[in-house]
Every structure is written in structure tokens, then in C-alpha cells.
């Protein structure tokens, strides 16, 4: 299973989660976990997703998610989970 972490950071905006989730569903990407918090009025959300059945290549996904973010005034990043695992787990 190829897992990635999608993060959404920015000012809280109506419908941003819906947009990201719709995009993921349209591309056969399964959401495994969602968590969110507000830090200094900034909305921070992360999703752990399974890319195994994704119909799009990683770089396309990453660019399109970033674009959804910039259209809504937030930052959306998609990164493979390994970087976080390696850094925070021995």
C-alpha cells in the first residue's frame, strides 16, 4: 500500500475539506484517517490516504491538490508518508 499524507494549512474556509475529499473520491483515493486542529487561528488538517488505486500519477495529484488549495486561499500539500515515519519513528 502506498500511503501519503495530505495537509491543508490556512485560514478556515467553508467547503475546503469537501473539495479535497471530492477530488480524492473522483480519483479512487481512499481516506484512512483525518485529524485537524486550529493553531493560532490557522486551520491545520491532515489526511492519511491510500494511493494504491489512484487513477493519477503522484506528481499530477500533487499539482492538482496544490491548485485546489491556491484557488481557495489555503496551502494543500501531498507527501509520501515515509518522510514522517522515518523522522519520528525509530
Amino acid at each position: 500500500m502506498t500511503r501519503a499524507i495530505i495537509t491543508v494549512v490556512g485560514k478556515d474556509t467553508v467547503g475546503i475539506i469537501a473539495k479535497v475529499c471530492t477530488y480524492l473520491a473522483d480519483n479512487q483515493i481512499n481516506i484512512l484517517d483525518i485529524s485537524q486542529t486550529i493553531v493560532q487561528e490557522f486551520f491545520n488538517m491532515m489526511m492519511i490516504v491510500d494511493l494504491t488505486k489512484s487513477v493519477k500519477a503522484f506528481d499530477v495529484l500533487s499539482d492538482e491538490l496544490a491548485e485546489i488549495g491556491s484557488n481557495t486561499g489555503v496551502q494543500v500539500k501531498c507527501q509520501l508518508e515515509d518522510i514522517f515515519d522515518k523522522m519520528h519513528r525509530i
Binding site: 494549512v9 485529524s35 485537524q36 500539500k77 508518508e81 515515509d82 518522510i83 514522517f84 523522522m87 519513528r89
Partner: protein, 454 residues
């Protein structure tokens, strides 16, 4: 499972604290390119580099995008060219032909530097070593991507003072040959002692003869991350201070290890080593000097600086070693002047001198690095500086280096702009008393007694 706080911490390191992987360097052996015909040698070199490294830059960019971590440089190091060209080069001009070939190959594959225009002369110079050394000024003046390094001493062999003396002249000639661009050629020329075979950082990278045919070495960085971590504990005692540096170095290095393994797997080339280094850039906050200030000295150069740097260097290694399966290269804190805004500031306010920098090189991973000095500094004085650094390396069994730039036409009070990652630097004063009689003696300084361990 990874939690939100951990994700936020990692991304903050990347976005706000300048965490990056400084370089993926592909080491390539060119020993099998040697031929007794210069044209054939050049053809083989060009073909081997452009074949093995054709996907290096693209792979680096892919990894960078997928993990969301900047990979600043993609580079190549090659077998010391004095060896590769020894059968076919009869004049310094012949070696320059190889330099031009390397430059063309580097441009073709899109890397930003290619290191290994080098000779290892720690005990003696062959005729071809000397030809290569004499070709350096011309080679660096007519190429863009080539970096050159000469190893003039080691703990096992002592110091080759003939080479040290010659390098004093070569540095001056390189400065003269590139005077139109503020003697920039000297920024790509380093004189080393105890040079490692697997260093991924420029200008001293070369692919040693002890290495495999091709290898991936990765240099990590992240002074900004260490600085941020220390800012959170301004009054901590040394125990907590050291623990914090160690933990941070561990995290930084793990990212390097991941990138190295991925690059190795995708390129089908074995993973060599991770170089655990805190390498600053001119960007604000990406500074080793700032870490020293966080540890507690007003400016680098103040009393206490050497001790602060020693503990920083040691903790970076202790944290990093556990994070990577193979550690090598230079591994430690770099203290270049022009590439670190905090160091530049310290020179400008008068806190940091060449002599204090020399003391600092006793406890950090490299040596006198990216230091601009007056253009009229005599070659014998430069040779004296190289001899001093080499002695520190030989006696302390560590790598030391000299990358100084005698900027032609400039003197103390002027500044020089190299641009990009090389930064800018105020011209630093050099001790004006002569070392001529010392460096002109000729021969070599024997290896120290503690090198005889057999």
C-alpha cells in the same frame, strides 16, 4: 500511525527553518576511461558520465516532490583526474581538454557542480599530478561547473611541502586567471589534508579509488532547524543543550537517509554514505554562526566560540550516526565565511579573525573555507596558511581544508560578491609577516608519531 503534531513539526522544519537535503552526489569511477589517446579518453569520460548520470537530476526532483523536501543540489564526483589522464596528458593543456569534457558532460546532465579535477599528492607528486596541478588556473578559468581539490597531506604520510608551496602559487594564478569575476576560480579550488574518498560536498568532492564503480552519497543540512530547537531552551544547561542538538540531528539525518535510499533504489546505484553536515547558506536563518550565538557567544569569534563549535560538532555526529546505516564524508559543522550571514556579520563587526577561524577548524569538520583575503597576499603566505591547516589535520587525524580567495584588485575594507550559494564576503586581513623561508625549504614534513599504529 503518524499524528498531526508530527506532520506539522516536519513541515515547519522544511518551510520555516530551511530544512533541506543539500546534495545528492553521484560518485563515478573514471578509471576505466583511461586511454593513451587524449581524444579517446575524453570520449569515454563523456559517454560514461552522461550515461550513468542521465537521470540523476530528474530523480532528485521526483524525490523532492514526492516527499516534499527540497533537494538543493545534484552533483557528480569523479575519480581524481590526475589518475585518469596520466597515460594521455603530456602538458597542462591536455588536462584542460579533460576539464572541458567534464564541463560539457556536467552541463549535459544538468548538475550544478562536478568535482574531482583532483590529485592526491599527500606524500609525493607524480609527473601527471604536477601537470594537473599546473593546469588548474586555466581549467577553472575556462569551465563553469568544475571543482578542483588537491590533497597535500595525511596523518599517515605527513605533509608534502613541495605541493603546499606549489598550491600557494596555483591559488594566486587561479585568482589572476579569473580576476574579471572577482577571482571566483578560487572558490572552486580547495587544498585538503586527510581528504575522505566519499565526500559529497563541493569543492572537495572526488570519487576515491577505494570506491565502487558508481555510488550515491548524500549530504544533509539544517542549521536553521538546530537553531530553532535551541531558541526554545535559552537557559538550558549543557546536558539539555547537547541532548537537544542530538535529537535534532537525528531527525535531520533520517530524512537524508530516506532520500539516499530512494535515490539509490531508483537509479540502481548503490548507496554509499550520508554526510552529516550542518552546511549554512547565505539565506537568513540558515546559519551555523546563529547556532553558536544561540549557544551563548555574542558573535562567533568571542572567547568560548571554539568550545561551542566543538560541542555542536560532536552532538551532530552523535545524533546523526544512529540515524544512518553508513556515515562518511566530512560530517560535522561547516564554517564558511561568505556562505553564512552570521559569519559575515561577525567579520564586519571585528569579532572574527583568520586566526580564530584557524582555531575553530581544529574542532569542526573542515577548515578555512570561503575566506576572501587581499589580492596582493604573497603566494608564500598562502602556502604558510595551507601548511598550518594541514598540520592541524595531520596531528588531529581529521580532515582540514583551505579554500581562500585572494581577490585581485581588492583589499581590506572591500567586499566581494560571488553570488548564489557562494554568497559574499568582506576581505579579511592576513598576518603580513613572512613565511617565505619556511615554505621554500622543500621536501616533506614526516608523519607524526601517533600515526604509527601497526
Amino acid at each position: 500511525m503518524i499524528n498531526l503534531q508530527e506532520v506539522i513539526e516536519t513541515n515547519k522544519m522544511i518551510e520555516q527553518e530551511n530544512l533541506d537535503v543539500r546534495t545528492i552526489t553521484m560518485g563515478i569511477s573514471l578509471l576505466d576511461c583511461a586511454d593513451n589517446d587524449l581524444t579517446v579518453t575524453c570520449e569515454k569520460i563523456y559517454k560514461k558520465i552522461t550515461t550513468l548520470a542521465c537521470d540523476l537530476v530528474k530523480t532528485g526532483e521526483d524525490i523532492s516532490k514526492e516527499f516534499g523536501i527540497p533537494i538543493v543540489n545534484k552533483r557528480i564526483s569523479v575519480t581524481p583526474i590526475s589518475l585518469v589522464g596520466s597515460a594521455c596528458c603530456r602538458t597542462p593543456g591536455d588536462y584542460v581538454q579533460i576539464a572541458k569534457t567534464l564541463d560539457k558532460a556536467a552541463k549535459e546532465v544538468g548538475v550544478n557542480f562536478l568535482g574531482g579535477y583532483s590529485a592526491i599528492v599527500s606524500k609525493g607528486m607524480t609527473k601527471s599530478d604536477e601537470l594537473l596541478i599546473r593546469s588548474i588556473p586555466m581549467a577553472l578559468a575556462c569551465t563553469t561547473y568544475i571543482c578542483s581539490s588537491i590533497n597535500v597531506g595525511s596523518t599517515k604520510t605527513g605533509i608534502n611541502m613541495d605541493a603546499v608551496r606549489l598550491m600557494g602559487d596555483i591559488i594566486k594564478q587561479t585568482a589572476e586567471a579569473t580576476k574579471e569575476v572577482d577571482s571566483l576560480g578560487c572558490a572552486k579550488l580547495v587544498v585538503l589534508c586527510n581528504a575522505p574518498d566519499d565526500n559529497p560536498f563541493m569543492a572537495g568532492a572526488f570519487h576515491g579509488v577505494s570506491e565502487a564503480d558508481a555510488i550515491i552519497n548524500v549530504g544533509v543540512s539544517g542549521p536553521g532547524v538546530v537553531k530553532y530547537a535551541l531558541e526554545q531552551i535559552p537557559d538550558a544547561n549543557f546536558e539539555l543543550l547537547c541532548e537537544t542538538i542530538k535529537r535534532t540531528a537525528f531527525k535531520i539525518t533520517r530524512v537524508g537517509q530516506l532520500v539516499a535510499q530512494e535515490a539509490s533504489r531508483r537509479l540502481g546505484i548503490p548507496f554509499g554514505i550520508i554526510d552529516l553536515s550542518l552546511a549554512p547558506t547565505p539565506a537568513v536563518g540558515d546559519s551555523v554562526a546563529d547556532i553558536l550565538k544561540c549557544i551563548g557567544v555574542e558573535h562567533p569569534g568571542a572567547p568560548g566560540t571554539t568550545a561551542a563549535l566543538a560541542l555542536l560538532n560532536d552532538q551532530v555526529k552523535k545524533g546523526g550516526v544512529m540515524a544512518s546505516s553508513y556515515v562518511g564524508g566530512l560530517s560535522g559543522a561547516f564554517i564558511p565565511v561568505s556562505e553564512d550571514q552570521g559569519m559575515i556579520d561577525a567579520v564586519e563587526v571585528g569579532a572574527l579573525t583568520l586566526e580564530k577561524l584557524e582555531a575553530m577548524t581544529c574542532v569542526c569538520s573542515v577548515g578555512l573555507d570561503m575566506i576572501a583575503i587581499p589580492g596582493d597576499t604573497p603566494a608564500t603566505t598562502i602556502a604558510g596558511i595551507i601548511a598550518d591547516e594541514s598540520a592541524i589535520g595531520v596531528v588531529n587525524q581529521k580532515t582540514t581544508a583551505v579554500r581562500i580567495i585572494p581577490v585581485i584588485g581588492k583589499t581590506v575594507g572591500d567586499t566581494v560578491e560571488f553570488g548564489g550559494l557562494l554568497g559574499y564576503a568582506p576581505i579579511m586581513p592576513v598576518n603580513t609577516f613572512s613565511s617565505q623561508r619556511f615554505v621554500d625549504r622543500g621536501g616533506r614534513i614526516p608523519a607524526p608519531i601517533h600515526s604509527f599504529k601497526n
